[in-house]
Amino acid sequence: MRAVELSDLHKSIKKNKVLKGVNLLANTSEVIGIMGTNGCGKTTLLRIICGLTSIDRGVVNVLGQNIGPTSTLPEGIGVVFDPPGLLADLTGLQNLIVIAKIRNIMKTSALRQLLVKVGLNPDDKRSVSKYSQGMRKRLGLAISMMEDPRLVLMDEPTNGLDRSGIAELRGWISELKSSGTCVVIVGHYIEEMTAVCDRIYTMDDGRLSQSSGASSRTEPASPTIR
């Protein structure tokens, strides 16, 4: 099943053409990596996929649903940007509770387990403002993995994580993949990407092209890049 399908995507920000006809197919149980230099439009692409940024032209289909100004975003998308959006004056658990209360799917016990899974103490009474960068990143990742997402978008997920954190992150991504979730990762480093991604793309001049580093991994079933 297709998790993400982008077709001829164009986007300009302040007269600057950020995306110039991007195509991408990502399936469930697949990990996709997108690399590129600062300002090339990687994060904008993630925001478009999760419906936070409008497009000038093209088609965005996420989890079988076209995304547009009048459509509703499908449920089951988790996202973590860099830096992750957190409530600094609440504790880690309270941050999760605030989000969980919207849909009321996850109970507090499940949220506590999720915090333990990402290496945070659910009983930590400190506010997030006292957290280190790595702890904030872990909390952001926990938010992205809430409510059993079918698609997870990660913007530079290794930023701020130490070696053990990066190793744990790989494990979480593998878990997500094996549970049928599609993971799209945006980052800078080819080593990190090749370790976890099935396919890696490089964004250059507003277009996606398959990276040579991806040849060792699974090839896409059909041409999905321009």
Partner: protein, 293 residues
Amino acid sequence: MLRSELYRAFHRKWTLIAFALGLLVVVIGYIAVQVGPLSFGVSLHEYNAWYVFLQVFGMNFNSIWGLTVPLLAALPFGDTLIYDMNHGFEVPLLMRIGKRRYFLTKWLANIIVIACVFGAVLSCSLLLALLWRRDTVLPVVLPPLIGDHIPSGLKPGIGVFASSYQPHVLSGLFWAHPGLYSLLALLIGILVTISIGSLTIGASFWFKNRYLILSTPFIFYMVLNVVLQFLGLYLWVPFLMAAGYLNAHNSIGSTVAYWSVILLFSLILVPLGATRYGKSEFTAKVSIDEKEG
């Protein structure tokens, strides 16, 4: 979403700080009233709990409460929207609900929080007034004479005292049922506070600085009063319903209408701002544009 916002509001320190500061302002107000009534020329027979309560929280534009409440009303949850927009916390929320619900819930949650905080402060103020002036008696009970002074807040006083002052739409209510009058004033006080405090949500679409947004109600209130004074309409600007029998200019109707218009204005700012927000690209306020240049 509303439950989520209320959970967030009541777990942040600023809600508690706003409540504590509100109480502090009230206590300072009581001290000022205790020191000042005779020098203000207020007769002791009027100086009962109901009167003191009303005087502390809105006798006039220059009262401590009147000056500080626009700032205090913004404090508990006024920065909820701008915080999300500046820190990227709107992302996980917008992923779960639509923009329209998100913005309206922010507005609604803000006014509920303000109503709770200031309802609690004003209720404490009323209780404090009753403790302060224990000689105040319920209107239905014939009060004893205290020295040469007759405690007010009593039915027998209606004819004696009410006729001494300018007629007011609710002066009769004050004399007949001062407790009811004070509760009504308390409710209007809450309406006033949520009206002025809710402006912060609308302001969040136009300004990015948190402190400027938290100051918006105060700036709005001051500018409005200066403009209305300039137009000679000062007396039609009731910050709160003052002691009705003393202030003939502020009718309950004009007070409620005035603040309802501001509340409506605050609500209208939300869809207007949301439209503007959508046009200016959501991303402009979040970290990605900073990062991607």
